[in-house]
Each structure stands twice: as structure tokens, then as C-alpha cells.
């Protein structure tokens, strides 16, 4: 079985940014052919343009599960599916070499997985766990789903939250159980089945060289300083955003729906959420926030010393 990694995160926490960086680093290092890079970039672009959560991302992809299970996964109930997803293999044939970094929004286990991981772990080298201040996640979710902030805060707090949860609709992805933001983070950080590297979105913004260096080292990718500097510079948030504008050309953008690389700032949540909403998040997530160096009295964050 080919080795692979997970890029695990709560939605809107910087997962895609990390994937773009990895593709760029591999391209600069000459690890992938031009075709493979183009394919990876096309897929990445496809993921973003298709609004990310609606299609394509791999670990929850029906297409992949159907292939592995040999059945139509839509004929199974979500609770039946969660019991077998962990036994599904990552087969080389379906995906190109440069795409062996699987994005996943599922929590590591679900109430239906019987205490076992929902995702396969056999052959997995490790998980990059990207986390972000939940207040900022709320704002980002709000732009992404076109939900009001209150609904986003409730979603972050909901211990039963899941993506693609409807049992009445089909779709290209299966249900992904997440639980609350803190439960989701803990499920990945506290698991002991595969090595984990925790990256904070805030640190990626403030000290990108250092953090991407850690990422490259964890993924055993070449990380000499020239290469790192170039890859980091090419995937700076403002560059990605400009590039998205350039290639996007959306003609019929419904009102209220934003681009994928939207602001990339941190600290928006502390400005936009009400004091009461912030207090709910801070109280519910106190220990997880503290464990990852988030102060609840929000001054612009300082990078976590490593």
C-alpha cells in the first residue's frame, strides 16, 4: 500500500491552503511531472470552484468509497457506512501520485464507528491537523455557507454537527460526522493511531516560513531554505486570492457568496461576533483553546513559540 497523509481540519481552517502549498513545493522541488502538477492544480481548483464541501474532496468521496466497497454507498445508512469506512483502502489506481495528501473534515471517530477511526489508517504516515480560532471559523463559515453568525456559532458548538447530514438528499460525499469544534480538534490531536502535526492557521499567517518548514519536515518533503522561501512566497494568501480572481471569472455569482480565498485574516471573529457569542464559544471550548495557545481575551494573536 502506498504511504499517504491526512490533512485534517474543521472546515475553513486552512486545509486547502496547506494542500496548495504542498503542490507548489513538490512542483518546485521537481518531484512531480508537469502533468501531475497540472492535474493536482486542476483538482485543487475544481475543489475550490465546486465550493469545496459539496464535492470531490477525497476521504468522504462517494466515488472512492463505492469503488472500494463494490456497492453503491448510497444504499447504506450513514451509521452502517461509518462502521466500514475505516477498512477501506487507499488504492493507487484512482489517484495520481501528487495527490496522496487526503483532505478530511470527518472527526477521527464517529458515534457510529464503534470507537474505531472513521478514516482508514493502515499505511497512513501521519495527519496534519490544521486548527483555527473558532471565532474566525464562524465568520468564515458564515461567508461560505451564507449562514448568519448565530447559526455558525451554534454549528461550532453542536456536538452532533456533521457535513452532508441530510438523509433525504443524495450527493457526491457521504455524511461526515464532526461534533463540536473542540471535539473535532481533540479527536485528531488526542488520537494515538497515527502521528499528528498540529498547525495553527494563525501561525501560518504570521510566521509562514517557520510553519511551512515544520509541515515539509513532517511530510518528509525537501525543505531547503531557497525552496521553502519560493514555495511560501508563491502561496502567500494575497497571491492565492489574486490568482483566484484572475482565473475565476464567475459570471453568475449569487449574492452573498464569496470567493474561496476570502480575507485570510485572523481576529475577525473577535470583532464581528457578539460578546455573548464569544463567551459561549470560550466557555464551551476553554480547555481546548488553552491547550492550543488561544487566549480568550482577543488581542491580535501572537505566534505560538515553537
Amino acid at each position: 500500500m502506498e504511504p499517504y497523509y491526512y490533512l485534517a481540519s474543521y472546515p475553513k481552517s486552512g486545509n486547502t491552503w496547506c494542500r496548495v502549498f504542498i503542490t507548489e513545493l513538490r512542483r518546485l522541488a521537481g518531484l512531480d511531472s508537469a502533468e501531475a502538477t497540472a492535474a493536482a492544480q486542476a483538482e485543487e481548483r475544481g475543489l475550490r470552484l465546486n465550493r469545496d464541501l459539496a464535492t470531490g474532496s477525497i476521504v468522504s468521496s462517494r466515488h472512492w468509497l463505492d469503488d472500494q466497497l463494490g456497492i453503491d454507498s448510497a444504499d447504506l445508512r450513514p451509521e452502517e457506512l461509518d462502521k466500514v469506512r475505516g477498512q477501506v483502502g487507499h488504492q493507487r489506481a484512482l489517484y495520481s501520485e501528487s495527490l496522496r495528501y487526503h483532505k478530511v473534515h470527518d472527526a477521527f471517530t464517529s458515534p457510529d464507528s464503534g470507537g474505531r477511526p472513521v478514516v482508514p489508517t493502515e499505511g497512513c504516515r501521519g495527519a496534519v491537523v490544521v486548527i483555527r480560532d473558532p471565532a474566525d471559523v464562524a465568520v468564515s463559515l458564515s461567508h461560505f455557507f451564507s449562514w448568519d453568525l448565530e447559526r455558525c456559532v451554534a454549528f461550532l458548538l453542536n456536538e452532533e454537527a456533521a457535513l452532508c447530514r441530510s438523509r433525504k438528499r443524495g450527493g457526491q460525499q457521504v455524511r461526515q460526522f464532526m461534533g463540536s469544534w473542540a471535539s473535532h480538534v481533540s479527536s485528531w490531536v488526542d488520537q494515538r493511531e497515527i502521528p499528528a502535526l498540529v498547525l495553527r492557521y494563525e501561525d501560518l499567517l504570521m510566521v509562514p516560513e517557520r510553519e511551512f518548514q515544520r509541515l515539509a519536515a513532517f511530510l518528509e518533503l525537501p525543505a531547503d531554505s531557497g525552496l521553502m522561501a519560493a514555495a511560501t512566497a508563491n502561496t502567500r494568501f494575497d497571491k492565492l486570492r489574486a490568482k483566484e480572481d484572475e482565473e475565476g471569472g464567475f459570471q453568475e455569482r449569487p449574492p452573498g457568496c464569496e470567493r474561496f480565498f476570502r480575507s485570510g485574516r485572523s481576529g475577525e471573529g473577535r470583532q464581528q461576533l457578539s460578546a455573548e457569542q464569544l463567551a459561549r464559544l470560550d466557555t464551551a471550548f476553554a480547555s481546548t483553546l488553552a491547550a492550543h495557545g488561544y487566549t480568550t481575551h482577543r488581542s491580535p494573536s501572537t505566534p505560538l513559540s515553537r
Partner: protein, 766 residues
């Protein structure tokens, strides 16, 4: 490892206790708990009240609860039905206790006259020594412990005294089962059942050590274990040994339903200070069961803290443990002996079956035997058996209870066990007991003939409502029947196998967890096996149609695509797409435009370009069904409880003749932020120009490419695709978002020709 199970950590939710049981437990307590429970009784719904009455009677707790309520002054206030049950039970219990005492004195007197000592055990001692009144501790039988060598003489003596050793409950010392039986039994002339025990818990080959009744000191005059005879000449165990025996019996050995009554026993022993005897913990430790010791310690700790073993103070896991007493023994055993104890458990079940008096019919027993035998060799030879049994035990559901084992089966398993002890290999043993290959005669009765994909099918024992019926006059080309997967030949691992699929040339095995297994072989045969009795025919046929039929068509060398096919005016189109792309929604929308359904999900195309009529149904999700204005409550779900529905029969306009294929569309869903499909041209139908792109797309959209590769049909498939794409217009069809928009747009389209004209235009421009 069973021995390593932490009963406190691992107890499942599924054994949650329902309200009548909770009430029952609370009614056995004192103080507030009792009062609260009693106060809830008048408003109990009739069904739950009846359940409570059943529990009280089955658990033989009615006298104790009546006494409790009377002591608390609440018996009179009970609602009529329940009050009458309790008062009546108390009166009967008093009579029975008096009769049992006479029987006990008579039996002990008879034995003493023959010089045979006896100790009254368990219920008898609890009733007359521990409970406030003897009638509060009903018992089914009288248990006496005798020196082992005296059992035979005692039997003879008692028979001479008019005791009856007849009937199917009786076990005589010369019983062939005696090598593993601990107690022998006969009837007192007054109608009570007497059990003569040769030891307390020792059985030949048993793991449980520390049976003090086997200590040579037990029967000596100044025994450290026995009390002196009471005024009536009855001898009992010393209280600490009574406690030990009760703990072992209730926590480890309790057969049948001793749970709540056992808890009351332990409460009263604790209240009398008998659980705090200094030697007790050591004695439990000497049994060699660390988990049992932990259980006892927890109970003792609970007692020390609250002085009352209430439902609240006993850790939550103790109660379900006691409620599922039949499974406890296995829970504590270690993995080395798991299988042997599984056999013992079978024997125990068989005895319980004989005692119950409701003998299964011969036919039932044969069916059980076949099912059980199919199961056992597999259990015995499977490496994961211990873990599997452990999981099932922890769930509180054992393999054995599911199968309602019969005595005949137990005898057969004994033989099997003996053979494997005698050195017969497991596989040989398994071979000897191979289950019948043919399905059970009652199952074979339902034989249906079907016609689909140009083939005639016969299904034995499985109703497949989605497949069109046919008359039985054509010989069947495909046979669908039940098989035991353990009889399938070994299949070497293939490069395309997954955890759920094994494939070799002409042979595919599919496991659907929780549903069953399928074997598809030679393009002519589908074998299926139900994983357990709760899997419905609909569950099986859903996966059979979705995967097994596709595999079979691939084995026959057909070109199988994943999509659906529709016909209008003698021309067919095929729409391809992955799960979730909206194929079924489009198919239903097209039927509103006068198209007829040729096939859904699986589309088989002949070498000369004909689409074969396939499965005439479509599966619609709830939201699509609603959007089409269908009454989803009237539609059958694809599987029980799912919000995806089957449309078939009269809901479907069906085409039943092979139809020439006119165009092929790859379906995409228009999403709100999508860029236009191609080069700034936003027409929904975009012809595919590049032969390479078409090849790639068709290979991706083949039905389960993994099956094609694993079955070694890639070559045949490639040729068929090449032939197809040479002559066929192919286009990408981007569906407008939303069902209303789709219907409106389709209204103006001519899909049979649109792909072709677009292609022509594209070529012309190019």
C-alpha cells in the same frame, strides 16, 4: 482477551434498563427510592404495569416487594391490578414456604436415617436464616450438598422413600451427562423438586478453582465451613461461605434469571454484615478470576460508602451485569477456554430448553441444527473468534441465543468436540458437518423466474421485486440461490481486491457488512448468504441488483455502464454519471417528457449497439421525490427506514425491447458558482471532441471499473468501448440547477439527436 475485559469500562449502551425494570429494582430498595417508585405506580400506563407484573412474577420478587410496600404502609394505596397481584403472591409464597420447609425436613430426615449428611444451600439458607421472613425468598427447588460418594446411595434411599426420579427434569447419577453435571435431581412426594449437589461449583474440567466443598475438612465433625445443625436438624453453611457461594452463584454462575433477586440477596447479606467477613476477598481472589474479584470489591466498596446496595450506589454496570446473568460466565473467562465454555454454554442452553417444557418441533430442530452446524465449524476455525465472541457478549447478544439451540444440536456439537479432542483436524470436522447445500425446503418453495438484460433468471428463496417477472418456460441462464459462504472454494488474493471484494477470473466475492455475502461465478450463478436473520429480502436484493448482477454481466463479457437508459420513438440514449450526479432525477424528468425507461443503474450494451432492457425501476431521494410532487409516504423505501424510494411498476413508463443507442451523455450538475462548462460557451450540451477524452470518460464511467479489472475483463471491455465510441455521439450534459429548471429546459430539447448535431457542428467548425 475475555479475562482482560474491564466490566466497568466496556459496558454497552444496548443493555440500558427500561422503566418497568428500573421500577422493579427501586421497589426492592428502601427509603426514598422505594417511595418514589411506589408513588409512580398509580400513573403507570397499562402496558408498563403489565410488564412490571410480568417481571415481578418472573423474577420471583412479588413477595419481597409486597413486604417492602407493606412495611412502608403503601401496599393498600396501590392500583387494583398490581395490588391484587402482590397480595396474592405474598399469600401463595407463605403457603409454599411452609410446604418447602416440610419437604426440606423430610428429605434431610430421610438422609440422616441412612447416615448421609446434607447441607441446605442457597435459597433455603437465605430464606430461613437471612431474610426477615422465609416466604420472602421464594425458591424453585431445594438444593442440598452431599458428600460426592453419597450421591448414589442417597438416590437409592430417597427412591425407596417414595421420591420420584422420573420425568425429563430428573438427572440420575447414572445419567450419561453426569461427567459434566454437578447436581442430580428428583421429586419429593409432595411435589417439590430436590437437587443433590456433589460440589458447589466444581465441574470436571472447569476453570473455577477454590470450591471449599471439596476440602477434605468440609465433612469432618468440627467443620470450618458448616454450622452446627439447627433445632430441626438442618445444617447450613457458615455465613461467610454462604456469602462466597452467593457471590459466585449470582455473579458468575447464575443461570436463568437470578439477577434482581440476587441483588436483594446480596443486600441482605451485606445488611447482616456478611459481606465484610475478613476472609471473603481472599477467598474470591483464590477463585482465580481477577475480574470477579474486581466486581466483588466494587460491590463491597459501594456497600461501605452507602450502607445500602441501591440502584444508585451500585455502579451502573453491575445492574446490567446481573440482568444478563446468562452471559456473565463467559465474560469472566479467559480466552484459552472460550471455545470449551461456549460448548458448555450450549449444553446449558439445551437443559434450559428441556426445562422450559416447550419442545421445538422436529422441523424447527432440524432447521436449527442446520443453521447451528453451519456456524460452529466456522467459529472454531476462525482466528478472530475470541474477539468476535467477546464483542457479541459485551453486546449482550450471543450467537447462541440468536440461534435458539436445540438438544439435537448440542449432542452434535458434543460429538464434534470429542472428535476435535481426539485429534481430528478442524477442517475435517468442519467437512463432516457441512451444512446442506440446498436451501431449506420451505425456502425453496419460493422460486421466481425473471427476464432482464436479455437473459432468463431464476431466483430460489429470494424475492426480487424489482426484476421483471417472466414465465418459467425458458430454461434459466442465471441461477440465484442461497449458499453457505464457507463452502465456497478458496480464492487466491488478486491485485485489485479490497477489504470487501475478492476477485479472480470468473469469480467475484462481495461482502456487505451487516447484510451478507455474495458470490458471482461463471456468468451464470449468484450465491447469496444472509448475515443474520434480521436481514430482509429487500436488503439482500438491493445489493444483489446493485453489484452482483453487474458483476455477472461483466463476467458474460457485456459492456456495462453505470447510468441509465431511456427510449423514445425507437431510439435510446444513455446518461452516465457517478453516484450523486443526478442521473435518476434526470431519468424521472425525462419520463415526464415522454421517454420510457430501459434500464436504471446498470446499462448493458450489445456489440451491435443495442441497449438491453434492464432493471425497470429508479431510486429517488426524498427531496427529488417531493420536488416532482410525488407522495413519498406512499413509495416503498429502497431499504427499511431510508429516505430514498423505489419507483417501479405503474410509476414507471417502461420500454421492454432492445433499442439502438443514439447518443451518450455524461451528466454534470450545474452548481451555483460553476464557471461555464467549456471555453466561454455556456450551452448545456457540449460535445466531446477528443477521442482520448471520450475513452477516458467511458472507462471511468464503466460500471465498477474495479470489477472489470479484477475479473480480467479489461480487454473485452476495451474492445467493446472502442467499437461503441467509433459510431456514437458523446456529449457532456450540464443539468440546470433545480428540478423545475431542469424540466423546463428538457421540454425544448431533442436529446436523441442533440449530441449528434452538436458533434456535427463542432466537427464542421473544427
Amino acid at each position: 482477551m475475555i479475562g482482560a475485559v474491564d466490566p466497568a469500562g466496556d459496558w454497552p449502551q444496548t443493555t440500558a434498563i427500561d422503566r418497568p425494570t428500573r421500577l422493579l429494582l427501586a421497589l426492592t430498595q428502601a427509603g426514598e427510592e422505594l417511595e418514589e417508585a411506589a408513588a409512580a405506580l398509580p400513573t403507570l400506563p397499562p402496558a408498563e404495569a403489565q410488564q412490571l407484573i410480568n417481571l415481578l412474577q418472573r423474577q420471583r420478587l412479588a413477595p419481597w416487594v409486597a413486604y417492602q410496600l407493606e412495611q412502608a404502609g403503601m401496599l393498600a394505596a396501590l392500583p387494583g391490578g398490581l395490588g391484587a397481584v402482590l397480595v396474592g403472591a405474598a399469600a401463595r409464597a407463605k403457603q409454599q414456604a411452609a410446604r418447602k420447609r416440610l419437604a426440606l425436613l423430610h428429605t434431610v430426615g430421610c438422609l440422616r436415617s441412612g447416615g448421609i449428611p446434607a447441607v441446605a444451600l442457597k435459597g433455603a439458607q437465605l430464606a430461613w436464616q437471612i431474610y426477615p421472613q422465609p416466604w420472602l425468598r421464594p425458591m424453585r427447588d431445594l438444593d442440598l450438598l452431599l458428600p460426592e460418594e453419597q450421591i448414589g446411595p442417597a438416590f437409592g434411599l430417597l427412591e425407596k422413600e417414595g421420591f420420584r426420579a422420573e420425568g425429563n427434569l430428573v438427572r440420575r447419577p447414572e445419567d450419561p451427562m453426569k461427567w459434566r453435571v454437578n447436581d442430580f435431581s428428583l421429586w419429593h412426594p409432595g411435589g417439590d423438586f430436590i437437587e443433590l449437589h456433589r460440589s458447589l461449583w466444581f465441574r470436571p474440567g472447569d476453570d473455577l478453582q477454590g470450591d471449599f466443598s471439596l476440602d477434605p475438612q468440609f465433612w469432618v465433625r468440627q467443620s470450618p465451613y458448616r454450622l452446627p445443625a439447627d433445632a430441626d436438624g438442618v445444617t447450613y453453611l457458615k455465613p461467610d461461605y454462604l456469602s462466597l457461594h452467593c457471590l459466585v452463584h449470582h455473579l458468575l454462575r447464575a443461570n436463568l434469571t437470578m439477577g434482581p433477586q440476587g441483588l436483594v440477596d446480596l443486600q441482605l447479606l451485606a445488611a447482616g454484615g456478611h459481606l465484610e467477613q475478613p476472609g471473603l476477598a481472599e477467598a474470591v481472589a483464590a477463585l482465580g478470576f481477577p475480574a470477579l474479584l474486581a466486581t466483588v470489591r466494587t460491590i463491597l466498596e459501594g456497600w461501605r460508602q452507602t450502607r445500602w446496595l441501591s440502584a444508585a450506589s451500585v455502579p451502573s454496570w453491575v445492574l446490567p451485569l446481573m440482568m444478563t446473568s446468562e452471559q456473565n460466565r463467559l465474560l469472566y473467562l479467559d480466552d484459552r477456554s472460550i471455545r470449551r465454555h461456549a460448548w458448555q454454554w450450549l449444553a446449558l442452553q439445551s437443559r434450559a430448553g428441556r426445562w422450559s417444557g416447550s419442545a421445538p418441533s422436529r422441523r424447527q430442530r432440524l432447521a436449527n441444527l442446520a443453521r447451528g452446524l453451519a456456524l460452529l465449524p466456522r467459529m472454531a476455525s476462525k482466528p478472530g473468534v475470541v474477539e468476535q465472541v467477546r464483542r457479541r457478549l459485551v453486546k449482550g447478544v450471543t450467537i447462541f441465543t440468536e440461534h435458539q439451540l436445540s438438544p439435537a444440536l448440542v449432542l452434535a456439537t458434543h460429538q464434534l468436540q470429542k472428535r476435535s479432542r481426539a485429534g481430528v483436524s478442524r477442517s475435517e470436522a468442519a467437512g463432516l458437518h457441512r451444512p446442506p447445500q440446498r436451501p431449506h425446503p420451505s425456502m425453496a418453495a419460493s422460486t421466481t423466474c425473471h427476464q432482464a438484460f436479455g437473459l432468463s433468471w431464476v431466483s430460489l428463496g429470494l424475492e426480487i421485486q424489482e426484476l421483471p417477472l417472466a414465465s418459467a418456460d425458458r430454461p434459466a441462464q442465471v441461477r440465484i440461490e442461497q449458499e453457505a459462504s464457507q463452502c465456497w472454494p478458496e480464492l487466491a488474493a488478486g491485485p485489485h481486491d479490497t477489504a470487501f471484494l475478492q476477485m479472480g477470473s470468473g469469480d467475484l466475492r462481495l461482502t456487505v457488512h451487516g447484510i451478507g455475502r455474495f458470490r458471482i461465478s461463471g456468468g451464470r450463478h449468484i450465491g447469496w448468504e444472509r448475515q443474520h436473520g434480521k436481514v430482509s429480502d429487500q436488503d439482500l436484493s438491493t445489493f444483489l441488483l446493485g453489484s452482483a448482477v453487474g458483476a455477472l454481466l461483466i463476467q458474460r463479457g457485456m459492456l456495462v455502464l453505470h447510468g441509465n437508459a431511456l427510449e423514445k420513438q425507437g431510439r435510446a440514449i444513455v446518461c452516465l454519471g457517478h453516484s450523486g450526479d443526478g442521473k435518476s432525477t434526470l431519468a424521472y424528468a425525462l419520463m415526464q417528457q415522454g421517454w420510457r425507461l430501459l434500464a436504471d443503474d446498470l446499462v448493458a450494451i450489445t456489440p451491435d449497439g443495442l441497449v438491453l432492457p434492464g432493471i425497470p425501476r429508479i431510486k429517488l431521494w426524498h427531496d427529488a421525490a417531493e420536488a416532482f410532487g410525488l407522495d413519498s409516504t406512499a413509495l416503498p423505501p429502497i431499504r427499511q427506514g431510508m429516505h430514498k424510494y423505489l419507483l417501479m411498476g405503474e410509476e414507471i413508463r417502461r420500454a421492454d425491447q432492445p433499442t439502438p443507442l443514439a447518443a451518450l451523455y455524461r451528466i454534470r450538475q450545474q452548481r451555483p458558482n460553476d464557471p461555464p462548462a467549456c471555453d466561454g460557451d455556456d450551452a448545456p450540451i457540449q460535445p466531446m471532441r477528443s477521442q482520448q477524452a471520450i475513452t477516458l470518460m467511458l472507462r471511468n464511467q464503466a460500471f465498477r471499473p474495479r470489477f472489470v479489472r479484477g475479473l480480467g475483463q479489461e480487454g473485452a471491455n476495451f474492445m467493446a468501448l472502442a467499437r461503441l465510441q467509433r459510431s456514437l455521439p458523446v456529449a457532456v450534459l450540464t443539468l440546470p440547477h433545480g428540478i423545475a429548471a431542469m424540466g423546463e429546459w428538457l421540454d425544448g430539447q431533442e436529446l436523441a439527436t442533440a449530441a449528434a448535431t452538436s458533434t456535427a457542428a463542432a466537427v464542421g467548425v473544427g
